[in-house]
Subunit: 317 residues, 2 copies
Amino acid sequence: MSDGEFEVIDRYFSQIGWQNSSSLILGPGDDCAVLSVPADEQLCVSTDTLLETVHFPRDCAGAIVAQRCFAAAFSDLAAMGAMPLGFTVALTMTGVDHTWLSGFSETLSRLSIQYEIPLVGGNLANGPLSVTLTVMGTTPTGQAIYRHGAQVGDVVYVTGHPGCAGAGLRYLDQAADHYQSLIQAYTAPTPRIDIGIGLRGLATAGIDISDGLLADLGHIAARSQVCLQLEQDAIPLSDSLLQCAGPELAMQLALTAGDDYELCFTAALTTKTAIRQLAERSGIEITPIGRVVEGQGIGWSGEAPAIEMAGYQHFSS
Amino acid sequence: MSDGEFEVIDRYFSQIGWQNSSSLILGPGDDCAVLSVPADEQLCVSTDTLLETVHFPRDCAGAIVAQRCFAAAFSDLAAMGAMPLGFTVALTMTGVDHTWLSGFSETLSRLSIQYEIPLVGGNLANGPLSVTLTVMGTTPTGQAIYRHGAQVGDVVYVTGHPGCAGAGLRYLDQAADHYQSLIQAYTAPTPRIDIGIGLRGLATAGIDISDGLLADLGHIAARSQVCLQLEQDAIPLSDSLLQCAGPELAMQLALTAGDDYELCFTAALTTKTAIRQLAERSGIEITPIGRVVEGQGIGWSGEAPAIEMAGYQHFSS
């Protein structure tokens, strides 16, 4: 990397993003960043690595990689009901690709400002393209949403329209209009931070969809020692997804693709109105897709969809 | 990676390390870990990536990589005077090398227990070998040690014997006894956590040596807008280093090698006794090597050592 580490950091990563955080006592540039944590709040922490060819295609634009890393990392905070506090970025890349770096850093900066989350530190090293984001957030003490709290009788919900991003990845090179909302779902997923915070005190268990809806609901079922019984007809398939992929592939993607970073969660039947109001406030559909019953794993009330379960394991060989 | 992500995590990374942390509310396995932060303390955060062939040699044993990553990451907390709170590990590797993984996870677990710092989360992905640690720690509000606080008249100190690890890297394949302490300095560096905490209220500025003593003191000088005037004869060269490398190379390595993770810092002359006592308590030498004067950069009182300055930029091309 002929330009040198410090020059690249100076040019693309110093003074980017949200600069007005009252929690940021000392930003990047020292051995550590220093942050204040609100009194009576607990710290939530998650780390995620996205690698070229594994988590995004070869030659994927820096702006898209930034957007996907940001969503992947912050949707973990959203799943806990956490308010973001800050994040670090560890980037490895071979050589200095100024076009890629511009797109990546400008997009990261824009998202940092949009969500008012400061970039608090980073690392740059010379190696195959990968991005590791570590995100920190806070919840009032005792109010974090875990995977293990689902109760028999709860309703199972999902936000948005899962499967759209998975379809978008398939159709990345399609130019026709009706593919664009799917491609957008892949290239610029939205972490459901506000919904996560809104679910504090409502959701009994929650997770973000990174491995696919069924796989991730399976984690809630396993941790909560319950069965999540879903209704095939209740799975929200977007019109675009149905139009582009047809009903079978649409259902397959909605249940097994892991690229949307939507949230799925369980909540008591008594909170139905509050959840409908949360959906209205956020402008994002929140759809009941089943109930929590005794047993284990994922079940279906009525006919089970005919899908391949490859999506259960997202890790590529 | 045929064994799959979850199997590898289960086998090598679940339930390892320090399990008795009173700060750890929820450990790895959910979307985030949840930690409590002591009241009236601020959070310090740093992230570091180590890559094969850039930061450690090809085919370097898992145990050595773990030890070096741990020291590199926690010495950043030490430099701030922070008490460690927890850390995350993002590992990318090609295929599943069980010997490497055993050595890596057992060593990481042992260090986590030795220093009583919980592993709070991680990520595993399929790619060229690299390890990214993100570390979190706390300092009482307002007591973090920054790079920018050096004052004219302060004394400049360094812990331990810089250059030993750099020599150890050169002599990794030497079997003779007199190389072993140097090799050990490279393969198992010690983050100076206790000394860092002991320096709260004493050090006016501090940094860990990751780019080389001169380069890192240069960061203190630049941030503090002062000159650090060093004495060549005061640089502490260990007997082993002198014996193995000879005086010229020993000085070169002590000033420019960045593999020791010692601390260098500045402190007022009036704290001399307290710093001597800290050295005695910790069993680690802390050597005065110069003074802070008006000006900028690094200066020498008396003759400047004849060294090549390549070590100023540790980033490999």
